[in-house]
Amino acid sequence: MYLRRLQLNNFRNAVSRDYVFEAPVVALTGRNGAGKTNVLDALHYICLTRSYFNSQDQQLIRFGEDYFNLTAQIEDEGEEYKVFCAYQPGNKKVVKLNGQDYPRLADHIGRFPVVMIAPTDLNLIHEGSDERRRFIDMLLSQTDRDYLLALMKYNKLLLQRNTLLKSWAQERKLDKALLEVLDEQLAPLNRLIYTRRAALLDQFNPVFEELHLEICQGHEKAGIQYESGFHQGDAATLMRQGVQADLEAGRSLTGVHRDDFVFTINGQPVKKFGSQGQQKSFIIALKLAQSDFLGMLTGKAPFLLLDDVFEKLDPQRVASLLQLVGQERFGQILLTDTDRGRVEAIFRHTGAEVQYIGVSS
């Protein structure tokens, strides 16, 4: 996969930008706030129909405008593809491949795999479980259509169910038959999502462990442990047992939306015991493993987006990162940095062909 051209209109703070890409490594350099990250995020949006940094499409529209759109030209296995995404509040999100609508948006996701590494990724370790679930969901959604559809349906049903529970908490009004109907639909989805997450980690952990060893050049064993209420038993049974507690709480306490993923090194949670350096290596290895893994399953090396990664890394980690990049196991790389000189110095001895694009607002 090769990104040839990317056009941004009213996306974040870009009025109108048009970039042509000509190398396997593209370095976007410029001051902070110049809009370098917008370019990476635009490609992320093109691939996954959502921003990496902001889940509210409305907030991606340039201030004072009432829509944004993005166009990408991507070459894949000798074919040229044109992807167009547009959003205007009040209308459905538009995603077109070569001018054609998709019957379902979900059919687009995973068509052009992508992985982003950004400074905010340390949130994966420090923030709540929803960040980690989102990571796992993004990984699975790009390779497993059933999972993505089940997850979308699950989230919608869960909102409906919580509305019912809330109205019970507030007005003591409950349509029992409706609650049962929602639960009968939720139970098989819980089962599917739980099973696929568990299976994913069985496959993903070995890839991750190996990459982590390469990055750290040490002997620390990295892994992800799956925590779920459904380790204890079948979804339908546990949900039935939980109904009373749900009614009292006014929300659903049982289900895969409560799952968590514990990041570990040598079996110990990184959040508590990892040094800052260990945590950074952990995240980078995690993301590169995501890229490797997506590449294995989709047969395409994903776009790798590195947002301000080099500035925050010590030289040794940069070196081992570049060694991996040099092995050509990753797809096209787009990176941002405030310092062109630093990027030049880093890539000087790799032999990689780098295109430099200066970005200014």
Binding site: K153, Q160, T163, D175
Partner: protein
């Protein structure tokens, strides 16, 4: 956006309340009306106000009608033993256009969606149960969209009908890409009405 006239702004506000009409389209409609003869606007206003004040709903199936009992329910040739359950009038029109259905209808007036404030008691579900309880009905044919709301509504109705001596069937799924019956072409929709399948989870 700023408008040079308050009258224009009010018209734009009114038009942009329609589904799928943004402010730009609303302005285009407004300017179009201004270019047309005055009678045209009069007729439009009358059609809209008559629609609201004179419309009646069939007391049996809740379809929109000009009489207290609609033409389909009043017809001697329609099979009163089969009730096709749909979300709204558009589905009735789509199914009637196939010419393949000889039973009667029940128009729910929407689909269950608690989050959007649509609970079962806001739809015509109880009156459907009453129709079934009257004993004449042998088959309920669910023709609801293949969306989560359509599924929930179907499951809910079949749960409420459990134990009744009535067969519950559904039109074959997969016909409604985009989830709306009205978009399915007549031939496919007609065939799926003839080849209905038993309803189950």
């Amino acid at each position: 956006m700023n408008y040079p006239s308050r009258l224009i702004e009010e018209a734009v506000n009114a038009f942009s309340r329609f589904p799928g009409i943004g402010r730009k389209s609303a302005l285009r409609l407004t300017l179009y009306l201004l270019r047309q003869p005055g009678e045209e606007s009069q007729q439009l206003a009358k059609a809209i106000s008559d629609l609201r004040s004179k419309v009646v709903y069939c007391s049996s199936c809740h379809n929109i009608s000009d009489e207290p009992v609609c033409r389909i329910c009043a017809s001697k040739t329609r099979d009163k033993g089969t009730i096709c359950v749909v979300a709204d009038l558009r589905d009735v029109i789509a199914i009637e256009n196939t010419g393949q259905y000889t039973g009667v209808y029940h128009v729910l007036g929407g689909l269950i969606a608690p989050m959007e404030g649509v609970s079962p008691d806001q739809l015509k579900i109880q009156s459907l149960l009453d129709r079934v309880a009257s004993g004449e009905v042998k088959e309920i044919l669910l023709a609801l969209s293949a969306t989560m709301e359509g599924d929930t509504t179907g499951f809910y109705i079949s749960k409420k009908l459990a134990g009744q001596p009535v067969r519950i069937s559904t039109i074959a799924r997969g016909i409604a890409i985009g989830g709306e019956l009205e978009y399915a072409d007549e031939l496919t929709l007609g065939r799926s009405i003839l080849n209905r399948v038993p309803f189950g989870g």
